[in-house]
Symmetry: C2
Subunit: 128 residues, 2 copies
């Protein structure tokens, strides 16, 4: 039996995947995989997700070039969450921040603490 079959997918066939920068340890994003996108991730060596809103496969960085090269995959005790340590090209977030977690709760408000590495619509970064 493949390890892909030991993963406990939810009732929609999905498992959450935490993406972490392999060098800095920064948590970059959370997205979802199904069995096929996990298999694709393993064969490509780059993260491939299942978009819940668009209901389609999504190779991270396919259009922007901001791919995530997989360095390590960890499984949790319950086999229902995955952790990918990746080499993130440019930025994980489409908004231009290095990490999607760029806002921090301070009191009652959210404060931007993230590092912006490109401006949205800046095509000069799309081929990186």
């Amino acid at each position: 039996m493949s390890v892909l079959d030991t993963v406990r997918y939810d009732e929609k066939g999905l498992v959450p995947a935490i993406i972490q920068d392999c060098r800095t340890g920064e948590v970059l994003m959370l997205a979802y995989m199904n069995r096929e996108s996990l298999q694709k991730t393993l064969s490509l060596g780059k993260t491939c997700f299942w978009s819940r809103s668009r209901q389609e496969f999504w190779i991270k960085g396919e259009s922007s070039g901001h791919v995530q090269v997989v360095k390590e995959i960890l499984f949790d005790c319950d086999m229902d969450a995955l952790l990918f340590k990746v080499d993130q090209k440019v930025a994980a977030c489409h908004t231009g921040y290095r990490s999607c977690f760029y806002r921090k709760l301070e009191g009652e408000a959210l404060t931007v603490i993230g590092r912006k590495v490109f401006e949205e619509g800046d095509v000069s970064n799309t081929s990186l």
Copy 2:
């Protein structure tokens, strides 16, 4: 409007919460919160989750003492994932490993790479 109301909970009213060690950056676990457990987490200063299997609130470490003192809360770009940086007492995983992500995919198999900090059933740790 409270920031609790700006979170995009899923159709079950849940949002995934990534728990990260505030000192080492190690990702410790992933669990789920609903609005009430998030509110409880904010007021207690310790993580409180919603157990999907038991359908009940669950203050992490309430019986074991392995609480997670919240140091920072980050929100992602879509407001549908949370990241908690915590001071983890003893261990996050009930199996005794510091992190729930204690196994790594190597070839076709999972290899234990985690650090075990207590043995299951070892009551000497429960009051820590």
